[in-house]
């Protein structure tokens, strides 16, 4: 349903998106994860036709977004990161307008608008102006405007940024409902927990490149059962590295050094809690000190850390 092949977007020397490829099927949610500035929105803009790719291809429901742009756009629903609503037009008129912009007319439009209003929980506020709505209500209407024409593919660009927990939960329900009704959803976020909760498969993007891709289970398997251990304090760089290597030599074969700075080190290993005394001893033997310890179970957040050596929200 959605295919992206070797897609690149350059701005002069800056490579915003670097030959990314992925595909997503009907009735699935594909997550595109990465920190701010990783290239997620640029990729979305290329797929939606807002930007022309420098190279590569993207197709929506079999229509190339560049050579057959109009047909591709007809099958595409976009929910942009920033609100894109007429604040001075009643909610129902917003939905009608955007439905017509996608060629929906007559009774089909009226039925769909009523359905979407119900779906986004704004039936009782249909005649009100969005400027009188709360932030969450505006987000829901923003979502409704993107799906009012029943698109085959929906691009959701960080839809939960700045949304209160209640509206976020409602948005999740709406995404799941669209997926269950057969839509293919491309969901970008930098919240790993959202991706784990919603996505059937996902890709992790950093500096414009896809650095991992697969189902959530496949990506978790890459971590194995290893925990992520982050120690804060003071660590002599070379001595600490040698001490950790010595621990590996002494039998901690799955211990892996991910990142080190003078005030923190990050390690992964299985059953980390059982090995904490040995690690503390090793650090103490180098003249270093530990002031704070953070132990995390394996998840996508730790996978990102493993792959990039940095936190997702950095």
């Amino acid at each position: 349903m959605l295919k992206v092949k070797e897609l690149s977007k350059n701005y002069g020397d800056l490579v915003a998106v670097d030959r990314i490829s992925f595909s997503a099927d009907k009735g699935t949610v594909f997550g595109l994860l990465g920190p701010n500035g990783a290239g997620k929105s640029t990729a979305i803009n290329c797929i939606s036709g807002l930007l022309k790719p420098t190279s590569g291809h993207a197709s929506v429901a079999g229509h190339d977004v560049v050579t057959d742009g109009k047909a591709a756009r007809r099958s595409l629903g976009v929910v942009p990161q920033e609100l894109a609503l007429y604040e001075d037009l009643p909610a129902i008129e917003n939905l009608r307008y955007w439905g017509k912009a996608y060629g929906v007319r007559g009774q089909a439009l009226e039925d769909r608008v009523a359905e979407v209003l119900e779906y986004i929980g704004l039936s009782d506020r249909a005649r009100d102006l969005p400027k009188k709505f709360s932030g969450g209500m505006k987000r829901r209407l923003n979502f409704g405007c993107g799906i009012v024409h029943k698109p085959l593919v929906i691009l959701l660009d960080e839809p939960t940024v700045g949304v209160d927990p209640q509206s976020r939960a409602r948005l999740f329900d709406m995404v799941k409902a669209e997926r269950d009704s057969g839509a293919c959803i491309l969901y970008t976020t930098h919240y790993m927990e959202e991706a784990e909760r919603l996505c059937d498969s996902l890709a992790i993007i950093d500096h414009g490149k896809l650095i991992a891709q697969g189902s959530v289970d496949e990506l978790r398997a890459k971590l194995g059962a290893r925990d992520v251990l982050q120690l804060s304090g003071h660590f002599p760089i070379e001595a600490t590295k040698q001490a950790i290597d010595a621990l590996v030599q002494r039998g901690n074969r799955d211990l892996e050094f991910i990142a080190q700075e003078e005030d923190s080190i990050t390690l992964t290993l299985s059953q980390a809690s059982q090995h904490l005394p040995a690690i503390f001893d090793a650090v103490a033997g180098t003249g270093g000190s530990v002031t704070e310890t953070s132990l995390r179970s394996p998840n996508l957040e730790t996978l990102f850390l493993l792959l990039t050596g940095k936190e997702l929200r950095e």
């Binding site: 939606s48 894109a84 609503l85 007429y86 604040e87």
Partner: protein
Amino acid sequence: MSFALTSFRKDISRWRQDYMATLIWISIPLMIGGLITMLMGSGVTPHGILLVVDEDETFLSELVVSAYGARELGELISVEKTNFDDGLERVDAGEASALLVIPNGFSDAFFEFTPVTLTLRTNPSQTVLPGIISNVTEILLDAGFYAQELFGDEIRMYVSMTDDPGDAQVAAIAVAIQHKLQSVAPRLFPPVINIEIAEPPPGEPAPPLALLFMPGIILMAVMFSANGLASDYWRERSQGTLRRLVFAPAQLGQFVAGKALAAAAIIGLVGGLTLVLGFLYHGISWSKLPASLIWISASGVALFAWFAALQMLFSTQRAASVVSTAILFPLLMAGGSFFPMAVMPGWIAVIGRASPNGFVADRLTREIVESGAWLIDLTSWLIVAGAAVVGLGICTWRLRTGFARA
């Protein structure tokens, strides 16, 4: 074309939520127009009051007083007799144009060739009417001097007669006057200087200045509306709706056409209201209204399109707003919205007529001032239509080339 209508309905619906802006577009020009029309008047002839204190109360003083109310002068000036204190108070209060004091003994002094002083006190808050009264007084004094010179003896003889003069006495005075006239006739007839007065060709009377000012006022409302509506592209951009529109298969050209239709409707309403008020005030024939209304609506769309195209050239809304406002007011001045082009110096009027709004105002002036209806020529209609099409084309081009995507 159906999306153009959708876009049109959307903009009209949004406009209904913000009618205050429209009230401002109408009320400012009406306020300015009303003030200037009050200052100029609407073609009504000025009329003043001359207060006369006649202390002499003789035949001659009556003759002088009646001279001010004679013939055409009587349409300009009403003469009222009063006493000195009342006259002084009324002139100082600005209720009269001038106060003339004819002193006791004026008549005797006139016939006896002795000096006498007439006092004329004028109202300093008026300029035209006191000037006319002052000039008339000087002419009367000149006439009196020449009458003294020529017929002083005869007049004295007539006045000195206590009883009704007999036929022989009247005949003697008449003969004496006749002789004097005959003696000066060779020097007066034929006159040494012949003055030929060239009458202007018969035509329609010049329209009042306030009427000539009306198109400029209407164009001010149209310009405010066009500029205000043009900024909606920036509003849409900041709301993210232009960007969302690019995601959709709807054509940007139809979106622009819809906006133009909405602008035509709103400008038609604003211009229509100001036109109707102007027609009512000046008593203009209603048969001229359809052409005038269509003309300003069509021109309004062209102005809207060019304001929008201009505003979309800038990278920030603030810069767009500052520049379009900076252009708007000089255009209003040149185009006759603050001074009718009819009273501008020739070269400024030429520039004014060449300005976009001046061009429109000039044709509208012709439509409402001259007799008949549908007087605007085909070339002017084509120029406006062409300007609108080109302006809207530039708007569409700017939307496609990045304005909507930002």
